[in-house]
Subunit: 182 residues, 4 copies
């Protein structure tokens, strides 16, 4: 990538982050372009739509999530690792709706996002396999399902007053639900 393009890309991401920090989730590409001192065309070239921008904004945190998942997969106690990973992911998704939407979307704008998602699902698949060995996870659930269900829980938590006790309860419901039926 050309140096000036990289510079502009960085400025755009920086401004977008400032907007989010200021409590504006709308990520209006026009406004961002103006604030970044850049033409709209430049923003659209780098990020063809809002979702692509969200993906770029989430890339770093997604990388961290993948690391976390890999650590969890290597945990001695698979069940504890699973619980910790889901709690970690849920907290992050609740904190950052952009991140949640990237995690949930079935249509990635950037190949890098799909790659990260694949890496995540791979680590989670290992984790699930080991947990299954302990009788802690049912047979008909894959990494993909866990990701989707977790986003569902995040959704359920968002729809209503933010109540920290609900977070723990819903997370527990999910973990119990993942166990093989009695």
């Amino acid at each position: 990538m050309r140096a000036d393009a990289a510079r502009n890309r960085t400025r755009v991401l920086q401004v977008a982050r400032e907007q989010l920090a200021a409590g504006d989730d709308s990520l209006q590409l026009n406004a961002i372009a103006r604030l970044a001192g850049v033409g709209v065309g430049t923003v659209y070239r780098h990020f063809p739509n809002r979702h692509a921008l969200r993906e770029a904004l989430s890339a770093e945190r997604f990388r961290e999530l993948v690391d976390e998942a890999q650590a969890a997969a290597a945990d001695v106690d698979a069940l504890a690792g699973l619980r910790r990973l889901l709690r970690f992911t849920l907290a992050r998704a609740l904190d950052d709706s952009g991140f949640a939407s990237v995690l949930e979307s079935a249509n990635d704008a950037e190949a890098q996002t799909s790659a990260l998602k694949a890496e995540l699902d791979l680590a989670v698949a290992h984790l699930l396999d080991r947990a299954r060995g302990l009788g802690a996870v049912r047979r008909d659930i894959e990494a993909d399902d866990v990701r989707r269900l977790l986003c569902g829980v995040e959704h359920a938590l968002r729809s209503g007053a933010c109540d920290p006790t609900r977070t723990e309860v819903y997370l527990d419901v999910l973990l119990e639900g993942l166990r093989p039926p009695r």
Copy 2:
């Protein structure tokens, strides 16, 4: 309500339904007004925003859901009733995203919707109470939680290819998750 007002309201709802049936979920108030041969202002008077319109469109089906919930609450087998009710609700929400959004929203536009929701939650509360007596539902879950979690599951199902087997699995995960932890 004046006779012409009632007529207009009916026409608007009818056109909105036609639009949805034609596969257009956008419910653009301008377009609906035009197709209904009515001013935009008239549409806005009856339905201050898209969500209010969705509520009106869902009222009938919501009423049916409440009936179903009351029947389930009266079922001899509370657990079977719960499962049947959740499956019924999920099917409806998956079939009709407007209905799903009304079911999920914490901010009702119309008092009637809130009333229906209260009636629903009341019936579900009874059902849960009885199920709890059978050891089939954990203590820290209310009717409200069930509604939100079900919407979460609906969300999880939507995010990805429509796969009927997933519907049953996710529903099962939810029901298992609702049971008291082992």
Copy 3:
């Protein structure tokens, strides 16, 4: 027209005039909207394109031209009237390129412009008829031709350094050319 619409229309025209006075012939609808404190949509609603705006800006001066043409048609000396009218029109067209483009265009955006043009051509037709009676105008030339040829002369004058003596010469060439061939 609604009072607010009329107000906005007026403001837009006023700003457009200011822009022209400031030497900016580009008539950018976005810029005008901004300066007029009005949305772009409003400008586009009133004036679907730049040409429509030019027509509106020229309406008054076009009306004056029609009056002048009617006066010329009533002149005792038809030939003098014709010469005076052509000189008047040419001066105006050279002074105001927007006016010239409205005068020349075959595709009017507003019906009012077409009406004015018809009125102009009617007056000129009378004038030509009388001049023909004096042997001062050839048979195969209509009012429409005179208007187009005058715009051609304006064009010829514009293409090159502005030289007042050329104006008189070219005008004379046109008037001599309109006479019946010897």
Copy 4:
């Protein structure tokens, strides 16, 4: 000029001609570059703007016009030569708006164009001188004026439905107008 530069220049001109032949008068430098398999920068190096490209595209036909003018200047019947030359030029300008714009412009992009124009004006000046001797052209008209007035006539013909009879009439008006006033 380097061999590859010459090759590129040729390819660009060829593609531009194909575009014009296909009815696209916009001569978009980006599109032409793409179709020519060449960078935009290369097109801009050869032709700093659209007008420069038009001049290059017209060079050959302009050369032919100059030849025609020199032939006319050598014609025994100066008046017939003048008429023939004007008719020839007008036909060419009407057929090719790019050619017309090059003929008309007061600001040539390429020195070669200015040279051709000078050569043209010289031949026309001779022709006019001889015609003046026959009393067929007024004193206050130069070759430059004839070129501009002819472009004016072309303009007048373009503004309106294409009507071959008008071409002859307007041309006649011009020739009559060029004669000394009675």
